[in-house]
């Protein structure tokens, strides 16, 4: 394992110091691991807090700023953060209008955010959690922990953040977050596994001619392993999984997301294929993101997220945002 780090156990702390040094628009509480907007809470505005294991950068810290999150709580690498962090962040961003917790559906994130919400209630802060679960690779049934939260998180955070910026009440902000989640689906494919600094070993072994279909963002193996194939076939497979779960029609936002180790030129090749399939279905891509937005350390591979837009969602997507990883309109 070769990584640009000092000691594995110091990675998250030192990266946070780097974030603090690089972004004057952010305040970083390194000890408590909270990234928040410089300037603090605005009275009357719903606060948005998200968080999850580290190793998915720019998620979540890169989405803190005007028009998106108020605070992010990064955990250890691939380990959900702890309730103390979330509680402290919740208090920090509360402007009296309540706080939205944006939680990716993983047992760890759900349980820790749940505990934090209980603690916040003790402090009379109204908290509404919204669970993101867009990954169609996982069967959503009684027999699983439910679908994982992946690429849709970016859209949920951006769009709910835009509505919160208009000082809409907590219920409305939570509703739009849930609406985005319900209209979003994702599917991921890994060409290679990722290596956490702590373990020093790839999460799984993938032969030179095989890929993982339906992979997660934590180095979890996917739902099936298959032969490597062309970008066209990978996209066909992925969009088939998405389309058969949520038929694609109308105006779509598409995220072609690199897993961390994938060259951007390949993501554009993939985007071209997604565009082909979407057109073939009679739908059209009206908003797009191509790049590394929710990663799995050094994994090579791609995840595709599709959101069925409405005019209102499009407007909220287009609203100004000013974060390290997503910025327009200011």
């Amino acid at each position: 394992m070769k990584k640009l780090i000092n000691k594995p156990e110091d990675v998250t702390t030192e990266a946070l110091r780097g974030v603090a040094a690089a972004h004057s628009s952010l305040v970083v509480d390194v000890d408590n691991k909270i990234i928040s907007r410089a300037g603090g809470a605005r009275k009357g505005k719903v606060g948005l807090v998200s968080g999850g294991g580290s190793g998915h950068e720019p998620l979540h810290g890169g989405f803190v700023g005007y028009g998106m999150l108020d605070a992010a709580c990064p955990g250890e690498v691939f380990t959900s953060p702890v309730p103390d962090q979330m509680l402290a962040a919740t208090k920090l961003v509360d402007g009296g209008a309540g706080v939205l917790h944006i939680v990716k559906n993983y047992t760890g994130d759900v349980l820790n955010f749940q505990m934090a919400a209980e603690l916040a209630a003790d402090d009379d802060i109204e908290v509404t959690p919204v669970v993101v679960n867009d990954d169609v690779a996982v069967q959503d049934s009684l027999y699983t922990a439910g679908r994982r939260g992946t690429g849709a998180t970016v859209f949920v955070e951006k769009i709910a953040g835009a509505l919160a910026e208009q000082d809409k009440e907590l219920k409305k902000v939570a509703d739009v977050a849930r609406e985005v989640n319900e209209r979003s689906r994702s599917f991921g494919v890994a060409l290679t596994a990722c290596t956490t600094p702590g373990s020093g070993q790839p999460g799984f072994e993938l032969p030179d001619d095989e890929i993982e279909l339906g992979v997660g963002i934590h180095g979890e193996p996917g739902r099936e392993r298959g032969k490597h194939r062309t970008a066209a076939k990978i996209v066909d497979f992925s969009l088939d999984a998405i389309h058969s779960d949520m038929p694609l029609s109308g105006d779509l936002a598409v995220l072609v997301n690199g897993m961390g180790g994938t060259p951007l030129i390949e993501l554009y090749v993939v985007f071209n294929e997604v565009n082909r399939v979407v057109k073939g279905l009679g739908a059209r891509i009206t908003r797009s993101l191509v790049g590394n937005y929710i990663t799995a350390l050094d994994m090579t591979g791609v995840s595709i997220t599709v959101v069925r837009l409405t005019p209102d969602l499009t407007k909220l997507w287009d609203a100004p945002v000013e974060t390290p990883a997503l910025r327009w309109g200011r």
Partner: protein, 216 residues
């Protein structure tokens, strides 16, 4: 003549110290198990948690077993994260609360505490036995403890029975398909691997039995 030891806060401190040592020794094993069907952090998570617990116990001197276990649980909740943090944290907190303010632990009280731990884990995580989680080690351990104790065994022997049952339960997760936690994403591919959380639970209970050797 066999010396019968009292189970008090010093014994519980010893138990927690053994857990820390044994988890450290098994860190790579736990991470490897979690690598196969999870995200390769269970060893790191548990060691981070019990390192924090050791530090907390260095600074604080809880007066009773119950107080000590509540401190262990709260520390785990504050420091571990992941699925195992809230689950283990809740287990230790509930066990501690069940023990109340008593200076000693009777065999019966320990059985109640273990049952409370299990109830805490299941209340939070909603896993049933057979779902391939730590419950598959903890539930049979609680049963084995209570059976032994009902049959008149010493606290040491009942704990030993619990530890053995936990080890069997952990190993018995191998053929199971995971229905909870991260491993459930793998569906049928989770079969054939031992659950990391059940394994760490077995370590925790083995440490308990070791601390209680000779107690009545």
């Amino acid at each position: 003549m066999e010396k019968v030891l009292q189970v008090d806060v010093t014994t519980v401190r010893d138990w927690v110290g053994r857990i820390a040592t044994d988890l450290e020794a098994n860190k790579d094993l736990l991470t490897q198990l979690d690598s196969a069907i999870g995200d390769a952090d269970h060893g790191t998570n548990m060691v981070r948690g019990f390192t924090a617990v050791t530090a907390a116990l260095h600074d604080a001197t809880p007066g009773t077993p119950g107080e000590l276990l509540v401190l262990v649980g709260s520390t785990l909740i504050s420091k571990v994260g992941g699925a195992s943090g809230p689950l283990y944290g809740t287990a230790f907190r509930r066990a501690g609360k069940a023990l109340g303010a008593a200076p000693d632990i009777s065999a019966e009280a320990l059985g109640t505490a273990l049952a409370a731990a299990l109830e805490g884990v299941q209340g939070l995580g909603a896993a049933a036995e057979g779902d391939k989680t730590m419950v598959d080690a903890l539930a049979p351990a609680v049963r084995a403890y209570q059976q032994a104790q009902a049959a008149g065994a010493s606290i040491a022997d009942a704990a030993d029975a619990a530890a053995r049952a936990a080890a069997v339960g952990a190993e018995a997760t191998i053929p199971l398909q995971a229905l909870k936690g991260r491993a459930s994403y793998l569906g049928a591919r989770s079969v054939g691997h031992q659950d990391p959380g059940a394994t760490s639970t077995s370590i925790v209970l083995a440490a308990l039995a070791a601390s209680l050797v000779g107690s009545d």
